[in-house]
Amino acid sequence: MSAREAILSRIRTSLAVRPDDDERMSHVETRLRETPSGVIPARGQLEAGARVAIFRAMAEKVQTSVVHVETIDDVPAAVAAYLREKNLPAKIRIGADADLAGAPWQQEATLEIRKGASQGDDLVAVSHAMGAVAETGTLVLASGPDNPTTLNFLPEHHIVVIETSKIDGDLETALKRVRRHYGKGNMPRAVNMVTGPSRSGDIEQTILLGAHGPRALHVVMVG
């Protein structure tokens, strides 16, 4: 007997069940098909304006900095302003994201833009989140050529652009957004939910920012 069969058969013996029990199978199929939501905290269940405000408050509580601009056309200026404020060189890395690529970067004449995945030598990366969670101030980023995963972790500063219309009230709704986008049962290679800059409490339980991932996380909310 293979290890697989041995383990499955031990589970069935311990639970005193048969492998072909229709009722059990239908319980499992129903749950996987219907994906019930469970208990949803009231905290994020607000109309759009208040939801955005909660997102911002929760993000700032975990040391994410947040600015709010009107349209995607304002993003290059917001990015340039952040670089100046932090005394960073005018150099960023972005993926192939069409919305980001369509922004008027030419307005920031001195800004050098590198494209594609990071090799670890970038100070600043800009990503476009596919969603966000108001109740916890969390960003939802999906892997792929548009927004390579390495941009989320290797640079010292991570700037993330998110449309306010994509900020959901709760975690479940944000995950349903991922499901809608990729199709039921499918996921991109990685979905990173990011809540603040990297940190560690491993030395004397004192929280310090900038462990292995970005030391700073900056969100540009659009719309």
């Binding site: 290890a3 041995a6 383990i7 499955l8 031990r10 589970i11 311990s14 639970l15 005193a16 059990r24 319980h27 499992v28 749950r31 994906t35 019930p36 469970g38 208990v39 905290p41 009231a42 929760m58 975990v62 993926g95 990071s118 670890g120 969670v133 916890t136 101030g137 969390t138 892997s143 792929g144 050529p145 390579p148 995963t149 390495t150 989320n152 709760d170 975690l171 479940e172 995950l175 991922v178 049962g185 996921m187 991109p188 290679r189 990685a190 979905v191 990173n192 939910m193 809540t195 990297s198 940190r199 560690s200 409490g201 491993d202 030395i203 310090l208 462990a211 292995h212 991932g213 970005p214």
Partner: protein, 480 residues
């Protein structure tokens, strides 16, 4: 791993007199309890979420075979591989085979208790493969050749001066005069040293907080981002997870995530929660070329259908040890097992046998704080009591305790004899207590009176007092 749980008494005595350890252990109470409490108070739905999380895991465990099959199918569809390991040795061997297939010399590791359970690091080293721990706490204890003393804060038993001296001892390529007085400089140094290692590594190994049947995803939850760098930069991502990590859907994952972060560190959400599904896709510019999951049993299937099944709901948040007075006093190493604290006292005998770990379920005052804070509502004290019963049945309990209990049981089941015995013992003990009304020494209970005095009984026995009250009540007409 070689257990030293049978040495618990000696380990605990040593721990109590270790001043460095006692200083570090004070960080457990200050670092965890208040933060959890504030996070819980800020979420009115917390207890309802605990019930929801418990129901999800109970449902999953009752249908575990089917969820494993569903999960396996989805991993394969996403281009990943699923391996089944019945024992720790099998799991290590599967990982070694994967390493050899890819001619791996170095592997990076995200923080994972399951790889501690299977003793992976020692095994890889024996086979000339270098494991590099990347979580700051795990990295520190790897330098010290120690084991984690806490399941989410592996180096909680250390003070910053000890970390500084370990870094000076091992990072000899750096300027000996550098300033490492502040914890932040220690963190930066570890970040710099480890950054290179992610790129050099052939394989990245992580554990999993959840395995999602609906999508075939493995989920890790970290604050540092080391787990993500480990699994993104290695050419191969290997996930090691025990079978009870299964959850049905993305929504179910979300429900349990809400109680996990708050119970563990008092965070509403841990910094990085990552869902990984298969290897990199054809047009992905980054990510691993291959993705393997090793599903480990190592004793779990034997817990299903028994009084220990509830333990399989455990999500490894550490709240039980953070709130345990025994853990606060002796720290995690004294337990001599991979998993310390109350959850370890229940899990270790299940995985390694009560013969190896009989002291652990006894290392509890049964105060019940562990159960009261457990996000999955696991009845830890009840299960420790079950283990004590098993220990007794197998004649592993010491003779004094055994005969003492037998004598007690005999007396307790013979009411007349019992009353006669206590009505004799009461005045005797009261006399022994003297004017202090307490005793500094008690025959057969020296271990107890060594650290505190025993209050002496006063007045009458309960039955005598009860009878007297009833008589008095009848006289005044206010009694029953």
């Amino acid at each position: 791993m070689q257990l030293t749980s049978n040495e618990f008494k000696r380990n605990a005595t040593n721990a109590l007199s270790d001043s460095q350890l006692q200083k570090a252990l004070r960080n457990v109470e200050s670092g965890f309890i208040g933060k959890r409490q504030s996070a819980v108070e800020a979420l009115p739905e917390f207890d309802a979420l605990r019930d929801s999380a418990r129901a999800i895991k109970n449902h999953t465990l009752e249908h575990l075979d089917l969820y494993i099959e569903a999960y396996e199918k989805k991993v394969r569809e996403a281009g990943g591989h699923v391996h089944f390991a019945e024992t720790a040795d099998d799991a290590c061997q599967i990982i070694l085979d994967i390493c050899r297939q890819h001619s791996a010399r170095t592997v990076t590791k995200g923080k994972s208790m399951i790889t501690e359970e299977i003793g992976l690091n020692e095994f890889l080293e024996k086979n000339a493969i270098e494991p590099v721990e990347t979580d700051l706490g795990e990295y520190i204890i790897q330098l010290r050749k120690e084991r984690p003393s806490h399941i989410i804060a592996p180096a909680v038993h250390l003070n910053k001066e000890q970390v500084e001296s370990d870094f000076r001892r091992t990072h000899t390529h750096l300027d000996a005069e550098r300033n490492l007085a502040e914890p932040v400089s220690l963190l930066s140094e570890a970040r710099e040293v480890l950054r290179k290692r992610y790129f050099e590594a052939d394989i990245g190994i992580t554990g999993a907080n959840f395995l999602v049947a609906e999508t075939g995803s493995s989920v890790i939850v970290t604050n540092e981002g080391n787990g993500d760098l480990t699994q993104t930069l290695g050419k191969v991502h290997v996930v090691v997870a025990s079978i009870e990590k299964l959850v049905p859907t993305l929504e179910d994952t979300a429900q349990i995530l809400r109680v996990l972060g708050r119970s563990a560190t008092g965070q509403d959400m841990t910094v990085y929660t990552t869902f990984s599904t298969g290897p990199k896709r054809p047009d992905d510019p980054d990510g691993p070329d291959a993705y393997h999951v090793i599903l480990l049993d190592n004793g779990r299937t034997a817990m299903l259908g028994t009084e220990y099944q509830d333990m399989l709901r455990c999500i490894r948040c550490g709240a039980c040890m953070n709130h345990c007075p025994v853990y606060h006093s002796v720290g995690g190493h004294a337990y001599g097992s991979v998993y310390p604290g109350p959850m370890g006292a229940v899990l270790t005998p299940s995985l390694s046998g009560i013969e190896q770990s009989g002291h652990l379920p006894n290392a509890s005052t049964f105060c019940g704080r562990c159960e009261s804070v457990c996000p999955m509502r696991i009845p830890l004290p009840k299960m420790m009591r079950h283990w004590r019963e098993r220990e007794f049945e197998r004649h592993l309990t010491p003779n004094t305790a055994r005969y003492g209990l037998a004598l007690w049981a005999f007396l307790a089941s013979h009411p007349k004899l019992y009353r006669a015995a206590v009505s004799l013992a009461m005045p005797l003990l009261a006399w022994l207590g003297g004017t202090k009304h307490s005793m500094d020494h008690l025959p057969l209970a020296g271990g107890w009176t060594k650290y505190r005095t025993m209050p002496a009984p006063q007045g009458r026995t309960f039955v005598q007092a009860w009878a007297r009250q009833n008589r008095a009540g009848q006289k005044t007409g206010t009694g029953r």
